[in-house]
Amino acid sequence: MGLMDFFKKKNSGDIAKDRLKLLLISDRANCSPDVMEMIKNDIIQVISKYMEIDAEGLDIQITQTESEGNNGTVPALYANIPIKDMHHTPGKANA
């Protein structure tokens, strides 16, 4: 085993935590990682019509948020979309 492998090797506790975080997102939202990937791709397509975004850095998550009207929490879709260039000509993607 090389030195680099030693540093790269993750603790099983961390692996468990990472797996659970992903798993619970889809459990809570009742939708699979496949569906999440499709939503992500559609968001990229739509936003790209208007500005240049970093598709690699895009992150979407389903979380819980306090509901404003009635008490309690509701699921919410959070999207973090890094913009590369705001001055992308509108409609260019269609051209």
Binding site: N11, S12, G13, D14, A16, K17, R19, L20, K21, L23, L24, D27, R28, Q64, G72, T73
Partner: protein, 264 residues
């Protein structure tokens, strides 16, 4: 004012019954009048963990069906003047009781007890629905394992949907030696993932097995780590601010001492 607390987990075998027995015993030691109800109809276990299995005459289903009065079914724990058990029925199944009947039962017990603890069966079906029906608050027990945490998350969702306002987490069977080498999720990891407030952590302690063998819950026994952890949880249930037990230091000290004896 009395409180009805359900002890639940989703997954089986994570320590619901052990937790119920120890939290109940601990609260009784703190001078509260406590009744423990085993709601796992058909698979009763709380009686053996409490060491009261030979004293059962009537059970939960008998009370609900009116075959006996509540007083006749309650078993008094002779070790504590204010601790009682309402055992489950062994020869019936979970359809023998409805959530409405459970609510009526817990409301009747509220008049006499400070704390009514409900030991919930595993799963999310009828038995779970019965157990949470009359509850004001919930203790969710989990171990630091992926399967138990996933089920706990599901349970928390269901408890929230049923408008149980106060939900607290107990992380059970922690092995600090494994946590420190990174091979087990820590208390912080589990709490972060499940996003509910922690009320206590209990180490994986051989003494639990021994106390279950003997039918004597170890809450309050300060010579054991688990006994100390359980009594701390009881203080927190009463609203006291007790710092989290340092499982790390004592555990390594204990294992060293235990190691010395093993070699000789």
């Amino acid at each position: 004012m009395s409180e009805v607390i359900v002890i639940t987990s989703g997954k089986g075998g994570v320590g619901k019954t052990t937790t119920t027995a120890n939290v109940g015993t601990g609260l009784a030691q703190l001078d509260k009048k406590v009744v423990l109800i085993d709601t796992d109809i058909g698979l009763r276990n709380l009686d053996v963990v409490m060491g009261l299995e030979n004293r059962i005459v009537y059970n939960l289903v008998d009370v609900v069906e009116g075959n006996c009065r509540m007083k006749q079914a309650l078993i008094k724990d002779k070790r504590y003047p204010n601790l009682f058990l309402l055992p489950s029925a062994q020869t019936r199944d979970k359809t023998a009781v409805t959530p409405e009947q459970m609510m009526k039962l817990t409301d009747e017990l509220r008049e006499e007890f400070d704390y009514i603890l409900l030991d919930c069966p595993a799963g999310i079906e009828q038995g779970f629905k019965n157990a949470i029906a009359g509850a004001d608050r919930a203790l969710v027990v989990t171990t630091p394992e992926v399967s138990a945490i996933r089920d706990a998350d599901r349970i928390i969702g269901l408890l929230e949907a049923n408008e149980i306002k106060q939900i607290h987490l107990i992380v059970n069977r922690l092995r600090m030696d494994m946590v420190s080498r990174g091979d087990m999720m820590s208390i912080d990891d589990v709490t972060e993932i499940l996003a509910i407030n922690l009320i206590g952590a209990v180490p994986d302690d051989e003494q639990i097995v021994i106390s279950t063998n003997q039918g004597e819950p170890l809450a309050g026994r300060t010579d054991t780590m688990a006994g100390q952890a359980y009594i701390n949880i009881c203080h927190r249930i009463l609203g006291e601010d007790v710092p989290l037990l340092d499982l790390n230091v004592k555990n390594s000290m204990w294992s060293k001492i235990a190691g010395l004896f093993k070699k000789n």
